[in-house]
């Protein structure tokens, strides 16, 4: 079977469900970077991200027959990746950040936006600022600004209500602005 770039994700999954390795290869090449970036945003550990990428793709291969088409393929695949990370954290005995209260009011003064805008354009400062966020905040900013996903899709991936995504994105941005403004002041 010719697995050219024209084939949709759904067509590739259909072929994979029939055991077509070429389709799996095409699918991997198309989505490897996306899954890896997402795992890195969540884990910030290249060793574990590489291992879990392999597990996600194996799950995609094994579950291809079960893809129901209720969500986009990328949403479904990132949902698998999210579950892999949660399982990994559970094994490591880490908390899953389920206690993150997205409705908490932030009482601290707002960041100096001019400073934050200046800092966000500096790759190193942004990287440091992102590292300072909790994994759920880092993850949600990645899904909004890198994956450019709708809040409904993000809610689907994370298995949380859409309202939770909205407030998490809002808080994540505010926290990042504060980190960046602080970094500018201390430089």
């Amino acid at each position: 079977m010719d697995t050219s770039v024209q084939e949709t994700d759904e067509q590739l999954l259909d072929a994979m469900a029939a055991g077509d390795m070429d389709a799996m290869t095409a699918f991997y090449r198309r989505h490897e970077t996306r899954v890896y970036r997402y795992l890195m945003a969540k884990l910030n550990d290249s060793f574990v991200a590489a291992d879990l990428l392999n597990e996600v793709m194996l799950d995609v291969w094994r579950s291809a027959t079960r893809f129901a088409g209720r969500a986009k393929v990328t949403t479904w695949m990132l949902g698998i990746a999210n579950n892999k990370v949660l399982t990994y954290w559970r094994k490591q005995g880490r908390r899953e950040f389920t206690e993150l209260d997205d409705n908490l009011t932030d009482e601290t003064p707002a960041a100096d936006l001019e400073q934050a805008v200046a800092a966000v354009q500096d790759g190193d400062r942004l990287r440091a600022g992102m590292q300072g966020l909790s994994p759920p905040h880092r993850e949600v900013l990645h899904l909004v600004f890198f994956e450019e996903l709708d809040y409904a899709d993000i809610a689907n991936i994370l298995q949380v209500p859409e309202g939770t995504v909205k407030s998490r994105v809002y808080h994540a941005k505010n926290l990042l602005k504060k980190q960046l403004a602080r970094a500018m002041r201390s430089s």
């Binding site: 799996m24 290249s46 060793f47 590489a50 094994k91 966000v120 600004f145 890198f146 450019e148 809002y170």
Partner: protein
Amino acid sequence: MNKTDEQLNLWANGRLSEAERLAFEQQMAQDPALAREAKFAMALRQQLQDEPATPPGELGLARLQRAIRAGRQAPPNVQLRKNIWKPVAIAACLMVAIQTGLLLGPEPWRQNNAIDVRPASGEAATAGPRLQIVFEPTASTADIQASLRSVNGSIVAGPSALGIFQVQLPKDSAADEAAARLREFAFVDEVIAP
């Protein structure tokens, strides 16, 4: 606030319809605070999009294909538990072999063919690049030594719980070339260059 924030993010991602975009930009023109927020969102998006990523690439694909061909049906968490002790056992064997060699051998370092052993502390870290490597569970101590010698590398960390070692290369060595050389060994499962 969240509604505006959502619109702002959609605007930065170019996801608003033409009419919505024009209306939002009009709003921005009249509200400098909103315009600054938009500038922040746009810059954040641009930086995240430009952030480099180095996924495993063809190496990862080869690993996946091997796993599929091997028909591993066990859930990954079971595999993970099962595999934890293999790299630990390999590392333990390696340490015993090296120590034995040093204690009983004819001072091999004087013949310029010693294994590059470094103390765990007391020496400044070498500035050369580091590779990540995973060996097949069947790799012997001699295999591991041979592969490390081929690139003048030393194990400086690992194995991690997932069986990953970190190999320190000498200063000025090319990580990609060393990775390619290591991949030629049949017992090397995976090598990731920085």
